[in-house]
Symmetry: C2
Subunit: 241 residues, 2 copies
DNA sequence: TTCTTGTCACCTAGGTGTTAATAT
DNA sequence: ATATTAACACCTAGGTGACAAGAA
């Protein structure tokens, strides 16, 4: 069995509508896809890999005025279907289970001609990450058993929209939200704020007191409270008089 | 068989008398011990590891006035004998052979109570790195064959003196060398200069034109020429009038 | 308009020799 | 005297979102 790490963080992003940047050179995911594994044969070899499947056959665009995603037509032609093998593959079950498995080398690109082995996605399309565990069958005729030698795990909270620049980014010129309930965005917190608050590499964009959140950083409590607090009074806030 | 990478660089250091810094927290080696492997069974599992054995039973000290190492007595009590497993171990022969194997995670310490798994050495003692390849025998009674299931490789040019601060560092107050031929140091270039010239992380201490050495950086020619050139006129130079 | 690209300041994370202070 | 330690400026290497400019 597999347990998704940082599920609480994934849930927060998912509530806002997760966006993942894609670039020509390749961009890591944040949150990073990380799992804990259980119940493997400690002595057997396994390959761990990920791929990404379209959630639907649609292309999207972001409506700033309503702060929501709209269908913008049928999906663009499918990108080359690639998989990302965890670089430690193959390894023994014992090795995989003894620590969190992190896919932090995985990068997303929108370059159809990418030759760095990155995952190729269409911008403005929705994707579902999938995680696969493949048992390396020592038998000579292992191809015959290919069907029973792998297992796939899907965590719906890791779905995201691929973008070249954050869309759920700032309010439109109207600076208020009319229909909050039908929006993917259920609060005033924007994707970029949550990324800045939770990704250590974006610390340069934090505007809160740096001495503030070590105190709030308790087990079970995500270090996002200050970001939430600040999100109460932006120009987009529906509670603004 | 095994081929030492960067042999030319190791040779240069060895001519000067290689020194490796040891610290409480652990310090990497430079040059890094790196090898290419040949003739393994691509499908078999191997463990790769290193250890360090004393070259002799002596303690040394560095005589600044003669710029040479002197015996300072019998060796201190032996340090806990540790080994460093390459972190990719175990892995298939094919995986080991397809690229250079680099022991850049290996760290040296003088802390006898180290609990980071680093290699513990006595400062001011000489050591010989050793490289071991262990075949992971799939047989049940593999312990019986332990003797024939490993192979050890020693490259004498990788010998070094463990130090807490560089010794072959600068000339003493006399600022000349009396007996160059009996010295380990066969030219005016000092260990620190060679380290600074060849270790990218020490680039901050280079005083040569930064635009200088990309031009000199051709295959087979080490990027040390400017360091050599500058070493012709220091205060220690025997050709000084 | 809408989307994409490249550059940038600002981070994380960690490897250098230097230097001054401190042991021993 | 000699050897060790800790703080430090300066690097490598690379991951952030912001922003301005460009493309469709």
């Amino acid at each position: 069995s597999v347990q998704l790490e940082m599920k609480a963080l994934w849930d927060e992003f998912n509530q806002l509508g997760t966006e993942m940047i894609v670039t020509k050179a390749g961009r890591r995911m944040f949150p990073t896809f990380q799992v804990k594994l259980f119940g493997m044969d400690p002595m057997a070899d396994y390959m761990l890999l990920m791929d990404f499947v379209p959630v639907d056959d649609k292309r999207y665009r972001y409506a700033f005025h309503s702060s929501s995603w709209l269908v913008a037509g049928k999906a663009d032609p499918a990108t080359p279907g690639r998989v990302h093998y965890h670089p430690d593959s193959p390894a023994k079950g014992a090795q995989w289970m003894k620590q969190i498995v992190s896919f932090d080398k995985l990068k997303l690109t929108n370059n159809l001609l990418d030759d760095n082995g990155h995952i190729i996605l269409n911008s403005m399309h929705r994707y579902q990450p999938r995680f696969h565990v493949v048992y390396v069958d020592p038998r000579k005729d292992s191809e015959k058993y290919a069907e029973e030698n792998f297992k796939t795990f899907v965590f719906e909270e890791t779905r995201f929209t691929a973008v070249t620049a954050y869309q759920n980014h700032r309010a439109g010129p109207a600076s208020y939200q009319v229909d909050l309930s039908s929006s993917n965005c259920q609060c005033g917190l924007k994707i970029t704020q949550l990324k800045i608050a939770s990704n250590p590499f974006a610390k340069g964009f934090r505007d809160c007191d740096p001495e503030d959140w070590p105190r709030n950083h308790r087990p079970g409590a995500l270090p996002l409270m200050s970001a939430f607090a600040r999100s109460r009074n932006p120009v987009t806030s529906p509670t603004q008089p």
